[in-house]
């Protein structure tokens, strides 16, 4: 009688079965090690537990309470804080809308701008290196300094923007004082602040492209756009994925820039999730602020995951 190869494995000789079981037992048998070895990761475990796990768990716990941040008395309110955020708090939904708008604006503008900069400045000429340094310079400034510099630029009375416009006979605007435009002006600042950093990521990607590919393409008569589409883009696509992910998280958390440029509390047109959470903490609504923080964390995770899923910019085979 022939035995089906698939079933052959299942019907092993008793001695084979015994060997397999013994191997299983060996695999499962506890490895006896010196317990002292397990002491080595303990400091790291303790640090992570104390500074990461515990605060995160506490945030989850606070989020289901009405704790005001200092009183010993509090009540568990279940998911009320989460429900309140989405159904009974227009300040929160306004901040959420502003934040999503801000992220979208900055991600698109910053990705494009830093890619264009990188394409223009990728050659190692003296001028390019100087310009690279110039565009990278804002990155080394503190966000508070950047906020104050731009606050001055946007000031309608004494600011640089309106002073320049006045010299050509144009009346400038209120910039941050114009609720319809304020977020766009802060987005400009954010793009100015971080594009240099993203440019460096792109330059690294661009410099890894073998020159021979361009030479071959030129010999084949490919124009610049065709070269970009068929050579440059596939090589910088993974960098774009990094740039978009990083920019997304960065613009979600533009707390210091917004607070520095718009003041505390910022006007509702400039209120984003992180500033809203800060205001809620300052308003002695600790439990509610913790719930908002969890929503914020989930939001960043979701958006980052979504953009990773949607972009899929990693070349096949990698």
């Amino acid at each position: 009688m022939s035995i089906h190869p698939g079933t052959a494995a299942k019907h092993k000789a008793p001695e084979d079965q015994t060997a397999a079981s013994a191997a299983k037992v060996r695999r499962r048998s506890p490895t006896r090690v010196n317990p002292a070895l397990y002491l080595f990761p303990l400091p790291a475990v303790a640090v992570v537990a104390f500074f990461l796990v515990m605060p995160t768990l506490q945030a989850f716990q606070y989020a289901i309470t009405d704790w005001n941040g200092f009183s010993a008395a509090f009540n568990y309110v279940g998911l009320d804080n989460f429900i309140r955020a989405f159904t009974k708090d227009s300040l929160f939904t306004n901040a959420l809308t502003n934040n999503l708008k801000f992220v979208l604006l900055v991600v698109i503008a910053q990705t494009l701008f830093s890619l264009i900069l990188a394409l223009l400045l990728t050659k190692n000429s003296r001028g390019s290196i100087l310009l690279r340094a110039l565009f990278f310079f804002p990155t080394i400034l503190s966000s508070v300094s950047v906020a104050f510099i731009w606050k001055f630029i946007y000031d309608p009375n004494f600011g640089l923007a309106n002073s320049v416009l006045r010299t050509v006979g144009v009346d400038g605007g209120a910039y941050l004082g114009n609720d319809a435009q304020a977020l766009y002006w802060v987005a400009v600042t954010q793009v100015w602040f971080h594009s240099g950093q993203m440019m460096v990521v792109y330059i690294a990607g661009l410099q890894a492209i073998p020159r021979e590919l361009y030479e071959a393409a030129e010999m084949d008569g490919a124009n610049k756009w065709q070269q970009f589409k068929s050579i440059t883009w596939p090589f910088v696509a993974p960098a774009t994925s990094i740039v978009v992910a990083y920019t997304t998280v960065q613009s979600f958390k533009a707390f210091d820039l917004i607070l520095g440029i718009a003041g505390n509390p910022p006007k509702s047109s400039l209120d984003i999730l992180s500033t809203r959470i800060y205001s809620t903490f300052a308003n002695s609504e600790f439990g509610y602020a913790a719930a908002q923080s969890i929503i914020f964390m989930a939001m960043i995770a979701l958006v980052t995951w979504l953009q990773r899923r949607l972009l899929r910019l990693t070349p096949k085979g990698d």
Binding site: P30, T31, R32, V33, N34, P35, A36, Y38, V45, A46, A49, F50, V53, M54, P55, L57, Q58, Q61, Y62, T65, W67, N68, G69, F70, S71, A72, A73, F74, D89, S90, L91, K151, Y154, D155, P156, N157, F158, D171, G172, G173, A174, Y175, L176, G177, N178, D179, G263, N264, P265, P266, K267, S268, Y278, S279, T280, F281, A282, N283, S284, G287
Partner: protein
């Protein structure tokens, strides 16, 4: 050492993790209330020695307090006072957390309103009712530091959150500096505008300073004195006629504030005033030192935008009693902290503080030698309303209600602005 299995090791680490989780799930706030915060009691007594941390937010007063500290130390051997100064925003957000441990802020100051309320509820204050200091204060100005029968804090400063006026520009324009009613106020603005100056420099881009004008605008419009508390409680509404009337008066001001006022931060607004480009700065007397620092040489007075139509308003101005001094109930050096507060409250020392910082104080029998304070001293005797915006205990409500005025200046209709503010109030009820 005997050996353990990997499984046993994982179990131990798991137990540690579970322990951490359990620790994390301890009741919030349960273990962190300050020692001795069971209720306000008098500060403990004892020798005035050791280190006293004095927490406040007025960095601009540091040198003045340093001098007072020197004088205090000269009186008491072995005592040392260190200032712990934060910016006002940080102080608002973090002071309570910092002070509750007691290592910072043996003596401290609070803002009137929500912050004072939070500190009171947290039991941070001791009761200064029987202190030596309390007798030095003007009785009528102590209420902002009271809670029930306890005198938890001593409101040290008296500020006038009313527009400051460049008297020279008023004289030049022939404008009346004490308009009797709203029409007279607008006529005064018209005269100033005709004279080629901006009538009002208003920092609409700065929520805190831009909001001070609200104290004047609401004082005679509201039907009751606790109007902001009642708005917060839902008893009065921003959509009520009296509130809409006030917003319409803000609308009247629109031609008289600088262009793009809603985008103006406080420093540029101060500059417009200091440089003589604007006749009024709509913040308050607490900015006198700042505008003098910017080079303002002209005489300064205060103007009350009287919003009544017949000039028969209840109030002639607005004031605030703030920088509420207290002794921390969690402090281990309450005796020295209380002595420091007593020292600051002596008329001679309060006078030094006042004259050097250009801030009136609520301490009685203080001699004002600072020319600005002397000029403005008559306002201490006028019938002024206690600044209403500090009645709000919920900062979101306060910001939303005040933002309605900013929205009107930027072009939103009073009705729409009021409805938007009321929506936030309703959500917080």
């Amino acid at each position: 050492m005997s050996q353990i299995s990997r499984r046993q090791a994982m179990a131990i680490l798991g137990a540690l993790g579970f322990g951490a989780t359990a620790a994390a799930c301890a009741g919030p706030g349960g273990s962190t209330s300050p020692a001795g915060a069971s209720g306000p009691a008098a500060p403990s007594t004892g020798a005035v020695t050791g280190k006293v941390s004095f927490a406040h937010w007025r960095g601009e007063d540091k040198a003045v307090f340093d001098e007072l500290i020197k004088r205090f130390a000269a009186k008491h051997d072995g005592v040392e006072v260190a200032q712990d100064i934060s910016t006002s925003n940080d102080y608002n957000a973090q002071a309570l957390q910092k002070l509750r441990g007691g290592s910072i802020g043996d003596a401290f100051a609070t803002f009137r309103g929500a912050q004072f309320k939070n500190f009171s509820e947290a039991g941070i204050y001791t009761d200064l009712k029987d202190s030596k200091a309390v007798a030095n204060y003007q009785k009528g100005l102590l209420s902002a530091g009271q809670s029930g029968n306890n005198q938890l804090g001593l409101p040290y400063q008296v500020v006038f959150p009313m527009p400051m006026a460049n008297v020279d520009l008023f004289d030049k324009a022939g404008a009346e500096i004490a308009p009797k009613n709203w029409d007279a106020f607008l006529a005064m603005c018209e005269k100033l505008a005709s004279a080629g100056v901006i009538p009002i420099s208003w920092p609409g881009g700065d929520v805190g300073n831009g909001g001070q004008l609200f104290n004047c605008m609401i004082a005679n419009n509201a039907p009751v004195d606790d109007m902001c508390a009642q708005i917060e409680q839902g008893k009065l509404k921003c959509t009520d006629d009296w509130f809409i009337k006030m917003l319409n008066q803000y609308k009247d001001l629109k031609p008289f504030v600088q262009p793009n006022a809603t985008g103006t931060a406080v420093e540029p607004a101060q500059n417009l005033f200091s440089q003589g480009k604007a006749a009024m700065l709509a913040t308050g007397s607490y900015h006198i030192a700042a505008v003098r620092g910017l080079g303002a040489k002209f005489p300064i007075d205060l103007v009350f935008p009287n919003t009544t139509s017949d000039g028969k308003g209840k109030y002639e101005g607005a004031y605030n009693a703030t920088f509420i001094l207290g002794v921390n109930s969690a402090s281990k050096n309450q005796a020295a902290a209380a002595a420091w507060i007593d020292f600051l409250s002596e008329p001679e020392n309060a006078g030094y503080y006042a004259n050097q910082t250009a801030q009136h104080v609520s301490v009685d029998k203080v001699e004002y030698t600072n020319p600005d304070l002397k000029r403005l001293s008559p306002w201490l005797q006028k019938k002024t309303a206690l600044a209403a915006r500090f009645q709000f205990n919920n900062l979101d409500v306060r910001n939303a209600v005040e933002a309605s005025a900013t929205a009107v200046i930027s072009g939103t209709s009073p009705e729409q602005a009021a409805a938007a503010a009321q929506k936030i109030v309703d959500e917080r009820l």
